[in-house]
């Protein structure tokens, strides 16, 4: 089972992401674009068990691109930057809710997903590209999935 495709299929069910473009690893940088990026997981962090199964990690980032506003926060007026941040937080909250409800991506019959969660409580502001017009803020969510790979388990 292609785990990356499983992640993409899973993210497309997120209401906030579904209404906006989703790219994989590389894409067009534009307002409200989301980009899922895989990370390399260190094999030394794997835990082999005596029955042949192995506990493994699958981590990936979701970068959300939002146009940044230079307007200050004024009472009784919506702040664009704050509203954009809330949208990204919605994605993070949705992922953690799915993890709590054990609604996981489908990694196939040989993989049992133990847990899925974001590594932080709120998104990280990676960078603001002020050279773009309008300026673009990049928020990052890192997701960690722990799963048991039973493909080499000797017991059926």
């Amino acid at each position: 089972m292609d785990k990356s495709q499983a992640i993409i299929n899973f993210l497309k069910t997120c209401p906030t992401i579904a209404n906006n473009p989703l790219f994989f690893n590389f894409g067009k940088v534009d307002n409200n674009v989301n980009q899922a990026m895989i990370k390399a997981d260190d094999k030394t962090l794997q835990k082999p068990f005596i029955d042949g199964s192995v506990e493994k990690l699958y981590t990936f980032n979701i970068d959300s691109f939002k146009s940044a506003s230079y307007n200050p926060v004024i009472d009784n007026r919506n702040d664009e930057n704050s509203e954009d941040f809330k949208q990204v937080q919605e994605v993070m909250d949705w992922i953690n809710e799915q993890g709590n409800n054990r609604n996981f991506p489908n990694f196939g019959i040989d993989c049992f997903i133990d847990s899925m969660e974001t590594t932080t409580e709120k998104p990280e502001l990676l960078i603001v590209d002020a050279q773009k017009n309008p300026p673009t803020a990049v928020y990052r969510i890192t997701v960690k999935i722990i799963y048991i790979d039973n493909s080499k388990r000797i017991w059926d």
Partner: protein, 230 residues
Amino acid sequence: MGLKKGEIKMAGVNLNPGIRAPRKTLITVAEWQGEEHDIYKKVTGSSAPTWEADKYYSRNADGTYVLTTVEPADWSTNYTMYYTKESSTRYREILGTRTEDSSIEFNPDIETMTDIRGITYTDVNKTEPQQNLDPFYVLGGSELSAYLAKNALENNISKYSNCFNVYVITAFLGEEGEYGAVMHEQCSILPTSMGGDSYVSMPIEIHFSNVITKGNVDKLSEDFIFSPVA
């Protein structure tokens, strides 16, 4: 070409001369009697049996079984991926799920004597084999952890004293379909503690009886058939 000496081929594991036996080829299985329950057996045979509705099950990644109501498109080629169901009072469970390290300690009782010639004699009087599993997590779907947890908390000592058969399957010995195994009758499996940090762990000790029957098992799954040998 036949198998070379020391070469075993089974379930994707090869043991050629000089290759270390993977830890997973030493398997401990607990067996006990309890209330009647459903057990699932893999479909076997050299060719696919005739499909019957509401008879065959498929297994999910989480270990649950789902009744297959419509003949699968891959039935003729993948029939061995399906299961039939029957009732039994026998429970079996492999030991070591989510355990990273565990060994069978033979605990020999030895006496040594050195005579005036400087020769040392070693008498092995007995062994008291034991295997510890730590951690041993209480897992969803694990009948053994549920059984031990309940009886430990209720202090039903008789429910885990001398009432298990324990199989030690040496999958590195033998051929596919005939793996070497010994069965110890009247073993005790006792929880030594319960708790932990994030998840409930219940470390256990398996005390083997040395009431041994030598034999073979035909497959590496809970529905194996144990055939004693002389």
